[in-house]
Symmetry: C3
Subunit: 270 residues, 3 copies
């Protein structure tokens, strides 16, 4: 069975079992992440306080750690929740939002990745290059090296952190020790709406919540977002813009079926 | 005059007097709560800091306390604001989001309910059952008992806390010492959008801001949300999904009139 | 070249150079501010933590300081970011949300304005009157005096703080030491959606990110929001309400062109 078929089966499983996805995420797109999780058929819960994250994650099928609008308390919660998820075998999906922008974020990302084993990391090219440039995760304060090649950056991070790494952009890239996939779905308008990256991360987590084939989960989450972007864009009339596009994105994810995923997904290995 | 007529008159009063509704609420749906408050014709204000909540609530016609994305500082603010609201005779609408999920939330809910007299509590079945299972509000850390019956759980909480209790779900239930009402409005899609529960809580608060008939206020807020869900769902075309449904919910609340509420509300006593 | 032409050129420059706009803003409308910044063609970044705001603002073309949902830590971050912006010559756009509502907000606004030189302040009539009533910025705890006239309040603040002051409302007012402009765009429905004021502030910041003509920037940001409100309202069908209006606002900003701004902007001097 090819990887897209595995993802399509997982999509059916999400709609059936409604996995609980615990998010430790930013305040900009927290509502979008909750709604996209509901749209794909899963169940979101958001909880940040250090006093409750370990208990909350124990109920969850997957944990999202997203470092936008970070603060020191949240870093502590992310580490506690992530370690607990590791202990319980719950997959951890890490989104290094803006990790290259400040030394605070680089240090925080370094601390989190030193303490927590991520299952999948999803970022844009710049973010993954920043992680690739960390000389050692324990230091985590080096700025991005000039990695000319996204493939190489993703492979460096995947090897160093022993996890799946995805770079979303014009062409999406998914790398693991078992192989490399490219997804040729999506539309440039996705970059004009805040949170489409964060939402892709949440979608990956929804897939990880129903299967241990995490590579297929990354493919599924990224492909669903990309296909939804294509459907949303095609639906736009002349006077419509990013407001309507954003609404239709949620429509398209809520109407996504295994059949649509198989028909429209453009996934290539190698 | 029956309870729906009282609610319809209150809706007219909301649009006329634009009551200020102070929210201490979660970060996931805070924007939705502000917009639904505006849609019904009231005026939202969100303020969390312990240094300002007592002064802010003194300007308000009603106070919403919603415990999603809770932290220790916010618990302190909720208690301060709630006590001040009690002192000033301002109704307090309490939403125990996810109260059963962690001991931190159960303890926090217990502390708040020990210090603050709620006017109306709105939750889902699981949340109200958790509150019903509190052996004593002062302890507040017991997990949900197996209360087979929603009616019984709501009545237990209503009696113990001397307030109105509503359970929203397939059939909405509103219980007070003066009686029990069921509302048969709504649509299952409401569960597929984040914040529809929080928004129902905000709508109840808007009604409580213009009348001391808090039972009619609970009926009005719940019925408006349910009817809006029905209107939003009926408007959907085949390719539309939860993104459009969510937009139409706000449309339907902003276009709600006393006449529509009377015509479409399905409220039964007992 | 008149001021609207300057603003139209700046709009073209925003779409070309995609200036980074750092926001220290409230949790109610943070997603709206990010999306409106993207809609006009700029790039938003939200970061609050005291440990990273100085570094983050150094990457930015403009800084927004918006005091909704304030807390003590955020005041500290706002002062640090604002001082750094002043040092680096980065324009600071200040939005005194609800400044008159509590003494905490008045004190915080006073502290921020004592430490940070704003480039543009945008508020509603009540907020600007509150700032006008500050006997001295160093005290900042006096409540609003009864300034009968918005023009006078804006001029008082503009002179006292040596910055541009805009009051948005039925008729928008923009005041600087170089003159006074009135903008007769907009629609009353804008007041029925949360965040339209915050979004206008973000739009002003986007313009300030590409030109040092900050008066034209204020005119441009306010006019774009007002014209978008008109376009959004005209597009509404009978059953549509504030949900659809809000979506169309983003559509209209994302479709705004220099030509549309010139054709529909109603800007008058004096």
């Amino acid at each position: 069975m090819d990887i897209l078929q595995t993802a399509a089966q997982a999509l059916a499983a999400i709609r059936k079992s409604k996995p609980l996805i615990h998010h430790l995420t930013n305040y900009v797109t927290i509502n979008d992440c909750a709604n996209i999780t509901l749209a794909i058929g899963a169940s979101p819960v958001m909880a940040n306080d250090p006093q409750e994250v370990e208990e909350m994650v124990s109920h969850a099928a997957a944990l999202v750690i997203n470092i936008g609008t970070l603060d020191a308390t949240k870093v502590q919660s992310m580490i506690a929740a992530g370690k607990q998820a590791n202990t319980l075998g719950i997959p951890v999906i890490f989104d290094p939002v803006g990790v290259g922008a400040t030394s605070f974020r680089r240090q925080a990302a370094g601390q989190i990745l030193q303490a927590v084993q991520p299952t999948v990391i999803r970022g844009n090219m710049s973010e993954i290059k920043t992680l690739a440039g960390f000389e050692a995760v324990t230091r985590g304060v080096d700025s991005a090296v000039d990695t000319a090649d996204g493939d190489q950056a993703a492979q460096t991070v995947a090897k160093k952190l022993n996890c799946i790494v995805t770079i979303t952009g014009k062409m999406d890239l998914i790398v693991s020790n078992q192989g490399l996939y490219r997804i040729d779905n999506g539309h440039p308008l996705l970059a004009n709406v805040t949170g489409t990256g964060c939402m892709a991360t949440s979608l990956i987590a929804c897939f990880c919540g129903v299967t241990t084939d995490y590579l297929a989960s990354a493919v599924g989450g990224i492909a669903v977002m990309g296909i939804a972007g294509e459907i949303a864009e095609r639906s736009l009339k002349p006077d419509e813009g990013i407001g309507t596009f954003r609404v239709r994105l949620f429509d398209a994810v809520s109407n996504m079926t295994p059949e649509l995923l198989l028909r429209h997904g453009r996934v290539n290995q190698g």
